[in-house]
């Protein structure tokens, strides 16, 4: 491996690891103000929605609100399954099945 790659790799490790580690180590030993606790309580839903919506709505660089967007269509049964059964596995299996069927029709 060449020197530039090693330098880049070490640098990338440091800048990736520090943000992962610092809040976990620092915040787990202090008492947080109530507004910050409330803020953190909203983070999971806010993050999951911020990851999910672009992944199903945006295809090939633009918003695709049509039947050709298999991600969008497969999301409907996945959502239905998630409402019916609040579990990690069932919606994933239903969504994947719908997506695979769609890619054959």
């Amino acid at each position: 491996m060449d020197k530039n790659f090693i330098i880049a790799l070490i640098g990338m490790f440091i800048v990736t690891y520090i943000p992962r580690m610092l809040p976990a180590v620092g915040l787990s030993r202090v008492k947080l103000p109530s507004w910050f606790i409330e803020f953190l309580e909203y983070i999971p839903v806010a993050v999951l929605a911020a990851l999910l919506l672009p992944s199903i709505l945006v295809q090939n660089g633009h918003v695709e609100l049509n039947l050709n967007n298999h991600y969008l269509i497969a999301s409907i049964p996945a959502f239905a399954a998630a409402i019916f059964k609040r579990s990690l596995f069932i919606p994933v299996i239903v969504g994947l099945a719908a997506y695979i069927i769609l890619s054959y029709v």
């Binding site: 491996m1 530039n4 790659f5 880049a8 790799l9 640098g11 990338m12 490790f13 800048v15 990736t16 690891y17 943000p19 992962r20 580690m21 610092l22 809040p23 976990a24 180590v25 620092g26 915040l27 787990s28 030993r29 409330e38 803020f39 953190l40 309580e41 909203y42 983070i43 999971p44 839903v45 806010a46 993050v47 999951l48 929605a49 911020a50 990851l51 999910l52 919506l53 672009p54 992944s55 199903i56 709505l57 945006v58 298999h70 991600y71 497969a74 999301s75 996945a78 998630a82 609040r86 579990s87 990690l88 596995f89 069932i90 919606p91 994933v92 969504g95 994947l96 997506y99 890619s103």
Partner: protein, 225 residues
């Protein structure tokens, strides 16, 4: 407890498979060696950052520009780490620096959702979940790197939808009360709008912070009225 974590990591592993393979293929086809490709997975363990970094390395970018780009792309882990800190209080302090290495979009999403739905935050649970997902990522990228040009970069395993489906499952498990539903809708729409303006995952961190801040204001407003 290891077993519970292991089981919860299986959808993540399934989701990492097509992405890891694609990453391995693209890096090796672009000129990186198999060892370099896998070294990045072992050391960074961050999907989108690795795609961007391997593109930059193969294009001959300077280490400084690669490192600063990766920093920006991975800054969202700050939020995940802060959010998990509450549950890290009950595990041995010396394990926290090691466990926090394994925080990704997916391992965070699964663990925070299960912890908020009654999962006990033990070291064994985190280890089972985190190590399984990590191995899934490293092995998928190794498979991609080894396959090289043999498969071509346009393989479709039909598994591409695993992670969106997992986010749907996790989001629905998290949605309790209309406050959270409104915030989810707000952050999601904002993220879609920002993805066209802000490069490198900046849309995720900005819309999540904006959504959570709005959530705090919501709490204040509804308390007063």
């Amino acid at each position: 407890m290891y077993k519970e974590g292991f089981k919860s990591a299986l959808p993540i592993v399934l989701g990492y498979l097509p992405i890891g393979i694609a990453y391995g293929l693209i890096s090796v086809n672009g000129g990186m060696t198999i060892a370099q490709t896998v070294a990045m997975s072992l050391v960074l363990y961050a999907g989108s950052a690795q795609f961007i970094a391997s593109g930059m390395i193969n294009a001959g970018a300077s280490p400084l520009s690669i490192i600063s780009t990766v920093f920006m792309v991975n800054l969202r882990h700050l939020l995940y780490s802060a959010s998990l800190s509450k549950y890290f209080k009950s595990i041995p302090r010396r394990s926290i620096p090691m466990l926090s290495f394994f925080i990704t979009d997916e391992s965070y999403g699964v663990s925070i959702t299960e912890l908020e739905n009654g999962q006990q935050p033990t070291r064994a649970y985190f280890l089972g979940l985190f190590i399984t997902a990590y191995l899934g990522w490293v092995i998928s990228s190794l498979i991609g790197a080894l396959s090289g040009q043999a498969i071509g970069s346009n393989i479709n395993l039909g598994l591409d939808f695993t992670l969106p489906a997992m986010y749907i499952a996790l989001l629905m498990m998290q949605l309790k009360g209309w406050h959270k539903a409104v915030i989810a809708l707000f952050s999601g729409m904002l993220s879609v709008a920002l993805i066209f303006i802000i490069p490198g995952n900046g849309n995720v961190i900005i819309s999540a912070v904006a959504g959570a801040a709005l959530g705090v204001l919501f709490n204040r407003w509804t308390k007063i009225s």
